[in-house]
C-alpha cells in the first residue's frame, strides 16, 4: 500500500488532463476554444490548492517527515558528543555481547542441519527399562528418575532390515563414530572419523565443497577405499589445499583416497562434536574396532537416521521398526524383550551434547541479557534526564503548533538512531567477542560447531537494536511531551527537587544498581569458586610435566608387541636431554575420563563395590610425585599387584595391615574359579584422578602390562628439568624415529590440562566479572548523571543555603545522602533478588555456597563504593557553589 503511492507528477498530469477534457466539452457546447480553456481552468478552481491537498493526503509526506526527523536527530546527537558516545558504547557492548552469544547458541542449539528437507529427518532410538544384556556403544543416557535407558545404537544387521521392512521411512542411513590414526604429509595424528552407509550423503542431501561425496557404490567390499573430509579438517590438516582430492592418506595404516571435502557448515549430524572425515561402512572390516561387527547381531554400534515419508504416520513407522527389531533379535536373543523404538525429530541433529552445552550457555545468555537490560535502563535514564533539560525546547515546539504525535515520533526516532548506531558498533565488537568465547569454550570441550556472524546473527542484531531502542526510547519520549506549557516556558533554573521526573530517574538508577549487583554477586561467587579450585591439593605435582596421548594399537601393534613398543618409547623419551622421568598411564590425569571396575574384597570392610582403576607404568607414581605412605611401589615385571590409595584402604580393606590384603577385579562378584587375586603392595597418598572438582575416590594403580586386553590408548607424562614445552619437538622426533605411524596427539603441559579442566569455571569467572564491572560502571554513570543534573537545577537553592550560613560539609553530605539512598534502594532490591537467583548456578560453584556471605558483602560494598564515588563529584560541586554567582544568575 505504502509503496504504491502516486507520484506528484502523475497527479499533475491528471489535473492537466481534466482541464483539457473540460475545455473539449465546453468547446462542444459552443464556446470558442481560448475562452473554453480559460473557463475550464476557472471552473476547476485553484490548481495549486488541489495539488497541495493531494500532497498532504499522500503518504510520501510520512517519508519526508522521517527524513526531517532523522536529520534533526542526527544534529541533536552530534551536538551532544558525550551523551552520544556513552549511549552508543554502552548499547554496543550490550548488543554486541548478545549477538556473539546468539551466534553461538544458534550454531549449537537452534540451526537446522545443512541438508535437504531437515524437517523430515528422524533419529531412531530405543528405550528400555532397567538393565539390558546388549553390548552397545554410542550415546545412551540412563534417566535417573525413570530408570529408563535410552540409546541410539543398533546392530548393523538390524539396520539393514530397517531399510527393507519399514515402508514409512525413506533414506534410512547409518553412521558410527571411531577414533582413527591418520597418517598424511609424513605425520600421524589421532582423528575423529565416522563410518557411514553408502547412501548417507545422498540420503541427507548434503553437498560437497569440492570433489564428490561418498556414494552407494563406495560402500561395498573390494571397492577402492574412499574418504571424504570435513572442511575443518581440510583447513587444519591440509591447509585448504585443493590438491587433496585424489591424494592417498593412511587410515589406521590402510591407504585411502580422498575423494571430496564437505561444505563448511556440514559437521555430520552431531553438531558440537568435532569430526574430521567419513569413510564407507564397508571399511569397518579392515580398520574398525573389533566390537564394530558388520555381521554379529549382538554388536550394537550403528546410529540410524531416516526420513519420514510425507503423510506417513510416525506411530506406524515406530511399530514397523519395533517389529523389525524383534525379528533381528530372534536370531540371537529369542527370550529378550524387544525394546520400544522411538522416532525423534532430527532436523537439528542428534546429541545430548546440545542439551549439555545449552546448560552452560544458559548462564552466559542470562549474563549478556542482563547487560543489555542494564544498558537500556542507563539510556532510558539519560534520556529522561535529557528530556528534562529539553523541556523548554519541547514546550516551545508544542506551543507553536507541533503535534504531540509528531514530537514523540521525533524523540523515538532519536532513540532508534542511537540504537542503530549501537547495533552497528555492536556488530563490530561481536566478532572479536565470539572469537574469544569460542576459544574459551573450546578449551574445555572439543567443539565442532559452525559459529559465525551470519545473516541470522545480523537479523538478531537488528531485532535487538530495535527492541532496545523502543524499550529505552518510548517512555522518556512520552513523558517528555507531557509538559504543561506555561510553567515550562517561564521556568528558570530554579526547580523543585521532588518532581516526578527526578523520581523516575532515581527509580531507574536504583533498578540499574539492583541488576548490576546481581552480576557482581555472580562474579564474586565465580571468582571465589576459582580461588577454591586453585587451592585444591591435587595430590600430585603438576609443574614441569609435559603430556601427550597416543595409540600404537591403530598403527598395527598388539599384545606383547604393543607393550614392547611402549617400553621402547618410554626409554627413548627418557633419554632426551632435560627429561627426568617418563610415566605411562591408560588414562591421563585431569582429563575427565576414568576406568572403573567392580571390586570384590574377601573379608573386607566393604566386600563389593566399584572403584576407579588406573593402569600405569611402574614409573607413574614417582614421576607424578605421589608419595607411597606404606609398603612399596610395584616394579615393571610385577603381576597381580596393585598400589591403592588411602580412600581404597578406608573404603574396602579390613583394619589389619593393608599390605598383602587381596581383592578381585571384575563385576564385583566373588571370583570365578581360577581367577588370580590382586595383592596390595603399597598405599599411596590420595590424589586427584579425573579432575579438580572430583570428590576423592578410591583408586587402584595397576601395572598396565598385566592387563588382559590391550590398553585402549596411552597418555605419556614427562617430568622435565627444562620448561616442558621446550622439549615437545624432541619428543615428536623420538616417537617418529621409533615408528612414524604412531600418532602424537594433544601435546600440552599438565598445567594447561588443569586449566582446561576448570575451563568452564574460568569462562564464567572471566565473563561475569568483566560484565559485572561494566554494569557497575554504567550504573555509576547513571547515578552521576542524575545527581549532576539535580545539583545543576538546585544551584540557586544551594546558593541560598550557603548564603544563610550552611556549612559546605553539610551541603556536600546532603547531596551525597540522596545518592546513597538511591544506591541503598538498589541494594535493598538487588540483594534479595540475588539470594533468590544464585541457587540457579549452584552446580557450577565449587566450595562456595550460593548464599556465600563474603561474596554478597563484597559485591554490595563494591557497588556502594562505586556509587559513592559517582555521587561524590556532584556533591563536591554542590558544596563549591558560590552563593553570589548562584543568586545573580537567576
Amino acid at each position: 500500500m505504502f509503496w504504491r503511492k502516486r507520484k506528484q507528477s502523475d497527479f499533475q498530469a491528471e489535473i492537466q488532463s481534466h482541464i483539457e477534457l473540460e475545455a473539449d466539452d465546453l468547446t462542444e457546447e459552443g464556446s470558442a476554444l481560448a475562452e473554453a480553456k480559460q473557463n475550464a481552468r476557472r471552473e476547476f478552481g485553484n490548481v495549486g490548492q488541489a495539488e497541495e491537498r493531494f500532497y498532504e493526503s499522500n503518504r510520501w509526506i510520512w517519508l519526508e517527515q522521517l527524513g526531517q526527523d532523522l536529520r534533526y536527530g542526527l544534529r541533536t546527537l552530534r551536538h551532544n558528543p558525550g551523551f552520544t558516545s556513552v549511549a552508543v558504547l554502552s548499547l554496543a557492548l550490550g548488543i554486541g555481547a548478545n549477538t556473539a552469544v546468539f551466534s553461538l547458541v544458534d550454531a549449537v542449539v537452534l540451526k537446522s542441519l545443512p541438508v535437504r528437507a531437515p524437517n523430515e529427518l528422524r533419529v531412531l532410538q530405543w528405550v528400555r527399562q532397567g538393565d539390558d544384556q546388549i553390548n552397545h556403544s554410542g550415546y545412551n543416557t540412563d534417566d535417573a528418575q525413570t530408570g529408563q535407558r535410552v540409546s541410539g545404537s543398533f546392530s548393523y544387521s538390524a539396520y539393514k532390515m530397517f531399510r527393507q521392512n519399514v515402508p514409512q521411512l525413506s533414506d534410512v542411513v547409518a553412521y558410527a563414530w571411531n577414533e582413527f590414526t591418520v597418517t598424511a604429509n609424513g605425520a600421524s595424528e589421532i582423528a575423529y572419523g565416522q563410518f557411514v552407509s553408502g547412501d548417507y550423503f545422498v540420503g541427507l542431501g548434503a553437498q560437497p565443497f569440492i570433489g564428490r561425496p561418498l556414494l552407494p557404490d563406495d560402500d561395498a567390499p573390494g571397492r577402492p577405499r574412499a574418504a571424504v573430509l570435513t572442511y575443518r579438517y581440510w583447513e587444519t590438516r591440509f591447509g585448504l589445499d585443493p590438491g587433496v582430492i585424489g591424494k592417498e592418506i593412511l587410515v589406521n595404516r590402510v591407504p585411502v583416497t580422498v575423494v571430496g571435502v564437505m561444505q563448511p557448515a556440514f559437521q555430520g549430524v552431531y553438531p558440537g562434536r568435532s569430526l574430521d572425515f567419513f569413510v564407507p561402512m564397508a571399511m569397518d572390516a579392515e580398520v574398525g574396532p573389533r566390537w564394530y561387527s558388520l555381521t554379529e547381531p549382538d554388536s550394537w554400534w550403528v546410529q540410524v537416521f531416516g526420513r519420514l515419508r510425507p503423510g506417513a504416520s510416525e506411530r506406524a513407522a515406530e511399530a514397523a521398526l519395533q517389529a523389525t527389531l524383534g525379528h533381528a533379535n530372534e536370531a540371537f536373543a529369542p527370550n529378550w524383550k524387544t525394546p520400544a523404538v522411538l522416532l525423534r525429530p532430527g532436523a537439528r541433529g542428534v546429541g545430548n551434547l546440545r542439551a549439555r552445552s545449552f546448560d552452560t550457555l544458559r548462564i552466559v545468555i542470562c549474563v549478556v541479557a542482563l547487560v543489555l537490560l542494564i544498558a537500556c535502563l542507563n539510556l532510558a535514564n539519560l534520556l529522561v534526564a535529557r528530556s528534562a533539560a529539553r523541556r523548554r525546547e519541547i514546550a516551545v515546539r508544542l506551543s507553536i503548533g507541533a503535534g504531540t504525535g509528531r514530537l514523540i515520533r521525533q524523540l523515538v526516532t532519536e532513540s532508534l538512531l542511537l540504537a542503530g548506531a549501537g547495533g552497528a558498533v555492536g556488530l563490530l565488537i561481536a566478532y572479536p567477542l565470539l572469537t574469544i568465547l569460542l576459544r574459551l569454550i573450546s578449551r574445555s570441550e572439543a567443539l565442532g560447531i559452525d559459529a559465525r556472524i551470519d545473516i541470522r546473527a545480523l537479523g538478531f542484531t537488528i531485532g535487538a537494536s530495535l527492541l532496545a531502542g523502543l524499550l529505552f526510547g518510548t517512555l522518556p519520549a512520552w513523558r517528555a511531551t507531557r509538559v504543561s506549557l506555561t510553567p515550562a516556558l517561564k521556568e528558570g533554573t530554579l526547580g523543585a527537587t521532588g518532581s516526578p521526573r527526578q523520581r523516575l530517574n532515581r527509580v531507574l538508577v536504583s533498578a540499574q544498581v539492583a541488576l548490576s549487583l546481581l552480576l557482581l554477586v555472580g562474579a564474586a561467587l565465580f571468582l571465589r569458586t576459582l580461588m577454591q579450585l586453585s587451592a585444591v591439593d591435587l595430590g600430585f605435582q603438576a609443574e614441569r610435566l609435559l603430556t601427550f596421548g597416543t595409540d600404537a594399537k591403530q598403527s598395527g601393534y598388539h599384545g606383547q608387541r604393543l607393550i614392547d613398543v611402549y617400553t621402547r618409547l618410554e626409554r627413548k623419551i627418557a633419554a632426551i636431554p632435560g627429561v627426568e622421568s617418563v610415566a605411562l598411564s591408560e588414562e591421563g590425569l585431569m582429563q575427565n575420563s576414568e576406568s572403573d571396575a567392580g571390586v570384590y574384597v574377601p573379608g573386607g570392610k566393604l566386600q563389593q563395590n566399584s572403584s576407579m582403576l588406573l593402569y600405569c607404568s611402574a614409573s607413574f607414581l614417582p614421576t607424578m610425585r605421589i608419595p607411597i605412605l606404606l609398603g612399596r611401589n610395584f616394579a615393571a615385571a610385577d603381576e597381580h599387584v596393585a598400589v591403592v590409595n588411602q580412600r581404597f584402604v578406608d573404603q574396602f580393606l579390613s583394619n589389619a595391615n593393608p599390605i598383602g590384603q587381596q581383592f578381585y577385579l571384575g563385576d564385583g562378584k566373588p571370583p570365578k574359579p581360577g581367577q588370580e587375586p590382586i595383592r596390595v603392595v603399597g598405599v599411596a597418598r590420595n590424589a586427584h584422578y579425573t579432575g579438580v572438582r572430583e570428590d576423592l575416590g578410591s583408586i587402584a594403580y595397576i601395572p598396565y602390562t598385566s592387563q588382559k586386553e590391550d590398553p585402549y590408548h596411552m597418555t605419556f607424562a614427562i617430568r622435565t628439568v627444562l620448561p616442558p614445552l621446550s622439549i615437545a619437538n624432541a619428543v615428536r622426533r623420538a616417537v617418529a624415529e621409533i615408528d612414524s605411524a604412531i600418532p602424537v596427539a594433544d601435546v600440552k603441559t599438565e598445567e594447561q590440562q588443569i586449566a582446561e579442566n576448570i575451563g568452564k569455571e574460568r569462562l564464567f569467572a572471566g565473563l561475569v566479572s568483566a560484565f559485572g564491572v561494566v554494569a557497575a560502571l554504567l550504573a555509576a554513570i547513571g547515578l552521576y548523571g542524575v545527581m549532576a543534573y539535580s545539583v545543576a537545577r538546585r544551584t540557586v537553592e544551594l546558593g541560598i543555603r550557603l548564603a544563610l550560613g550552611a556549612h559546605r560539609g553539610n551541603v556536600q553530605w546532603m547531596v551525597l545522602r540522596q545518592s546513597l539512598w538511591v544506591v541503598f534502594f538498589g541494594l535493598a532490591v538487588g540483594i534479595p533478588a540475588a539470594l533468590a537467583l544464585t541457587h540457579l548456578i549452584e552446580k557450577t560453584l565449587f566450595g562456595v555456597k550460593p548464599t556465600d556471605t563474603v561474596s554478597f558483602v563484597a559485591a554490595a560494598v563494591l557497588m556502594a563504593i562505586v556509587g559513592a564515588i559517582a555521587a561524590w563529584i556532584p556533591a563536591r560541586r554542590a558544596s563549591r557553589v558560590d552563593p553570589i554567582t548562584a543568586l545573580r544568575c537567576e
Binding site: 500500500m1 502516486r6 497527479f11 498530469a13 491528471e14 489535473i15 488532463s17 481534466h18 483539457e20 477534457l21 473540460e22 473539449d24 466539452d25 471552473e43 476547476f44 478552481g45 485553484n46 490548492q49 488541489a50 491537498r53 493531494f54 493526503s57 499522500n58
Partner: protein, 118 residues
C-alpha cells in the same frame, strides 16, 4: 453558467461526495472530469463538485480499495486516468445508499411536511 443556478447549488455534506462518486461509477469506468460532469448533470446542475475535493476523495476511495485507477484514452483521444468500481466498492455503495436513504427519511420525518419543498 447562470448566476441563478449557482445560487441554487447545494453545498455537499461531508461524506456524500464519496457516495456520489461510487454511484456514478456504477455506469462504467470514468475519469475525474467525467465524474464531475456526470454528478452535475444527473443532479440537474444543483450539485457542483468542488474539484479541490474531488481528487482527494478519489485518492481516498482508491486507498480504501473501493475504486481502482488506470491511465487510458478518452473518447476524444485524450490521455486520462480512468476510475473503475471494485467489488468491494459496489458493496460499500449499496450499504451507504441504504444508510443515506434511512438518514434522509429520518431527517424528513423530523422536519415534518411542508418544509421539504423549500
Amino acid at each position: 453558467m447562470a448566476t441563478q443556478a449557482e445560487n441554487d447549488r447545494i453545498v455537499l455534506l461531508q461524506g456524500t461526495l464519496d457516495l456520489l462518486i461510487l454511484r456514478t461509477l456504477v455506469f462504467g469506468p470514468q475519469h475525474g472530469q467525467g465524474i464531475a460532469r456526470a454528478i452535475r448533470h444527473s443532479s440537474e446542475d444543483s450539485l457542483l463538485v468542488d474539484h479541490g475535493s474531488l481528487y482527494p476523495a478519489l485518492q481516498r476511495l482508491e486507498e480504501q480499495g473501493w475504486i481502482k485507477a488506470k491511465w487510458g484514452t478518452s473518447k476524444n483521444n485524450r490521455k486520462a486516468r480512468f476510475y473503475t468500481l471494485t467489488a468491494k466498492g459496489r458493496r460499500q455503495l449499496s450499504s451507504e445508499t441504504s444508510q443515506w436513504r434511512r438518514l434522509v427519511a429520518a431527517i424528513g420525518r423530523v422536519l415534518g411536511p411542508g418544509e421539504a419543498g423549500g
